[in-house]
Amino acid sequence: MFLYTREAHPGELVGAHDSFDAKLANARLLRDEIGIRRPILVDDLEGTAHRAYGLLPNMSWVIGRGGRIIYKSDWTSAANVEAFLTRYEGGRARRPSAGSVGPYLTEQVEFRDIDREAFYQRLQRNGPRAYDEFKGAEDIWRART
């Protein structure tokens, strides 16, 4: 499922949410313009769920049956999530084999593909200022390194 949060890059055309209705209207763009088919669930205007999970703009989490976190990532790679689920569900299916399979935890650095041009186009779709402000942020990040 897709959990819709605040607009990470507000602009003239798709702006920061000032009401829940505005947030719902923006969420509909995900379904109607981008074509997301998964269920879209909308967080409240204050971002309660977003805050509970860490406020990052495009995290992915997997919650196991019964409510334990089994996967967290600070950015999203669908391929990585799918590969994880295959391993995890495979491991769960094998567990009845008396003591020969057990769970363990890892933390790891992974790499994801980034389509910068497509991202810039999405910024422009939100409005020219979304693009300009992102470019401004790039200057800030560069100055920090």
């Binding site: 879209i40 990052l56 919650i63 967290k72």
Partner: protein, 70 residues
């Protein structure tokens, strides 16, 4: 409460304030695999009904991607 507010108007100010950096820095230490998942009440876009995450994770592994239009 943050200096720019949750629904910030300007991404560059949000970065400049250090909030964005603080959020990324906190993430590794905040919630881990193995921990109980925070529950939350959400609005289903297609029909406007309310659902809790705990209603959804009761019988499946729940993949949750957070995001916005960009």
């Amino acid at each position: 409460m943050s200096s720019t507010g949750y629904n910030y108007e300007r991404f560059d100010r949000y970065v400049e304030s250090g909030e964005e950096m603080a959020e990324f820095a906190s993430f590794p230490g905040h919630l881990h695999a193995g921990d109980p998942a925070p529950d939350a009440s959400l609005t289903v876009l297609n029909d406007g009904t309310h659902v809790r995450l705990s209603d959804l994770w009761v019988d499946r592994n729940l993949v949750v991607e957070f995001g916005s239009f960009t």
